[in-house]
Assembly symmetry: C2
Homo-oligomer: 119 residues x 2
């Protein structure tokens, strides 16, 4: 366990083998989880400096400002890092629906014991 | 894009190369993100059947019932899956502090432009 990383006040992300950390984004108003994505160092730097959420797209292998084509940006309201600095939690104000399906959150289905249920 | 996975009512997780999906757990009361972890198929099955959150520990490479040693179990209140089924959001009632540091949430530090700040 890296004590300095856990208790210190320096941002020192523990990137995985692909150079990424996991990011959960919640809605500042509804408190719902909107989406889960990944950031590399560049996406993290751009997010911190611009207050607009940037990810690293694993499928396209490139930096991605969330909403760059749809206009549905995520404006950073608060940002937290976890104990071992391999995950971030961002509280954001979304400019529109977060999910590419048009749903406000990507989590539009409930998991039940016998399958899924639309919210 | 797999349409059935995105719109259907069958749980069909899209596991990564390591056989894992990402899981964000929020507190049913405070709405805070408590922790982010990973599940393999077995951890997911045990979580759904028992309503107690189970993870797959990447560092120890084994199934892990959260709180199995501390007693601080996470009781499932609601569970959602995202559009492409590679991430889960669990709303839980924690039996005690979630973080091994004793903090209620693993996200006890704010990311600011010039470093971290304890909440």
């Amino acid at each position: 366990m890296d004590k300095e990383r856990e208790t210190g006040l320096m941002l020192d992300p523990k990137y995985d083998a692909s150079g990424l950390v996991t990011v959960a984004v919640t809605d500042s108003h509804s408190k719902d989880v909107l989406m889960i994505g990944h950031m590399n160092a560049e996406a993290l730097r751009k997010t911190v400096t611009s207050d607009i959420v940037h990810f690293f797209s694993r499928s396209r292998q490139k930096l991605w400002m969330k909403g760059e084509t749809s206009g549905n940006l995520l404006h950073v309201v608060d940002m937290r890092v976890d104990c071992d600095q391999d995950a971030l939690w961002i509280v954001a104000k979304p400019a529109g629906p977060t999910c590419h399906t048009g749903a406000s959150s990507c989590f539009y289905r409930r998991v039940k014991k016998d399958g899924l249920e639309h919210i």
